[in-house]
Subunit: 361 residues, 2 copies
Amino acid sequence: MAWSRLTEPEHKGVGELIRALGAQAALRHLLEGRTEWGERLTPRLELLDLDRDASLLRRIRARVVIPGDDEWPSGLDDLADPPHCLWVRGPMNLGEACERSVSVVGARSATVYGTTTAADLAAGLCERGFTVVSGAAFGIDAAAHRGALSVEGATVAVLAGGVERPYPAAHQHLLAQIAEVGLVVSEVPPGSAPTRHRFLSRNRVIATATQGTVVVEAGLRSGSLSTANKALVHHRVVAAVPGPVTSMVSAGCHQYIREKGAILVTDAAEAAEAVGSIGRDLAPEKRGPDRAEDVLDEAEARVLSSLPVRNAVGVGTLAVQTTMGERELVACLGRLEIRGLALRDGDRWRKQRRRSRGGAA
Amino acid sequence: MAWSRLTEPEHKGVGELIRALGAQAALRHLLEGRTEWGERLTPRLELLDLDRDASLLRRIRARVVIPGDDEWPSGLDDLADPPHCLWVRGPMNLGEACERSVSVVGARSATVYGTTTAADLAAGLCERGFTVVSGAAFGIDAAAHRGALSVEGATVAVLAGGVERPYPAAHQHLLAQIAEVGLVVSEVPPGSAPTRHRFLSRNRVIATATQGTVVVEAGLRSGSLSTANKALVHHRVVAAVPGPVTSMVSAGCHQYIREKGAILVTDAAEAAEAVGSIGRDLAPEKRGPDRAEDVLDEAEARVLSSLPVRNAVGVGTLAVQTTMGERELVACLGRLEIRGLALRDGDRWRKQRRRSRGGAA
């Protein structure tokens, strides 16, 4: 908790020291003035007041989770510079929530197509037992949280600023709802503003606390691709949702599929299959409508395709068209009649008309 | 020419016989009654009249191209059962046209998004020196031809019926235009109606005459996927254009990318790269707009992200926020000032306001 107050996320020197000595011994080391970079922390050290933080935690009904705690998301241990602690608000167990979790992220300047898709995706993932993790930003992030809430699913918002500080401010109500039933989490202490550096560091938490990241919409250089980049670096699954090639906020998704090998997903079943356990989360195969023609053998299909819809023709004409023997032809016509595909008209035949379906060529 | 009149495309027995004996000897073999299946061709044999066909060719201003001719598309030699001949209308050399060619195919029940994308893609491919080959069907096919014509590019329509017979009839004008400047081609003789079997056979011609197939829109079981399937079987490149996940006619494209390894392409440059020669047709890398922040080092970026937009702050406050030494801080602030990113306000500093861009998180 002290280190979270004293340093910015991903401070190289502090990370090395804590890895070498452990958090407590490292703090003594710092206080004894035995580090090169410690002097720079002096201004923050003077402001440090852990008693005040303890009462602050009670007031904002938050708790602090540290590495090794039951609630600590095990995925964060893959980070070279993991958070020193997480400030957490909400009733769920963070560690359990992250055990089967997906981050759903994307552009703030999302389209209606993007936010609708993100909400559907998040709802479907929750229904499949996943926790949906995101960053509570405008656009895709908020839509993902809302989709999860809409099915009373588990959702975790990871903020770049303090957990008591709704950011963006317009999401005050959304974040309050998430803190009520899910979790609002940050590695920076209460009172911290979200800065650019903290956003980027926050993204590594989203990327590694979860088993995979789905990018719903992203411009070519959007911050949501930074989450995907971090997920890739840490060997998490990255999936992306396609969209119109004319949409600038789908361009990042398409590029990611083309160049980084992100898996193209179009719905929650496919996202679950991409991120989930092999065997457990197989998406059902997508199929078009069944057609009566599908069960025909090659000869039957050829006869059917030679039958006119209007003016019935005789078996002789069909023999020319199909290059089939008359006996075989008559047998085929009989089978097509039974299936309701061919109509006899005296000694002539025509196709049974059906409702058109479109699609095939 | 006779074989084209006597049999349907992909007739197994005929194919074997011609491979074994050559087309002329095979015909003598048939006429001498020495094949098992020859009897079925008798009705057509009785109708055969090559002199009438010769004058027909002159009347419809068509020609016949056979394997080994200068105009024969070499890609067709990859087929186990290639066409016996091609009936061709139009001023281009078919063999040359196919040397650098792409087929652009897709659903008949296309959306405006699909037809617009197909036309743009075809126009861009023509501008890159490709011939655009398609099937003149409603929807994507017609849009591809029209896109090619719009830039006076090379385009070839491969029909499932006779070349003198506009199909669909509504495309009479389009096909006349293509025959005027490009090529209209079929392996079945004039007078033949397009049947289901002939459509499927036609698709193998489109798939193998070209170096690659781009599917623009396709339902889950559409005929345009049959062209893509045949392209894959014959080791041609298959690419697909993504679209909204809510669009049924993009579902086949998405499935093809997910399951068959089709290359996702979003524009002509990417399609050319996928299909064209390595080295010659590299697509330019897609980039977002440059940002002033991109050239900053880590320390400068951290200082910039800590500067408030409104109420300027002193160096002491920045030292707490950035955990940087004052000397380093002042140097960074100076460099940011030079770049026009930071503003000095007495001994306080704030961020230089810029037009917002949206996108990053």
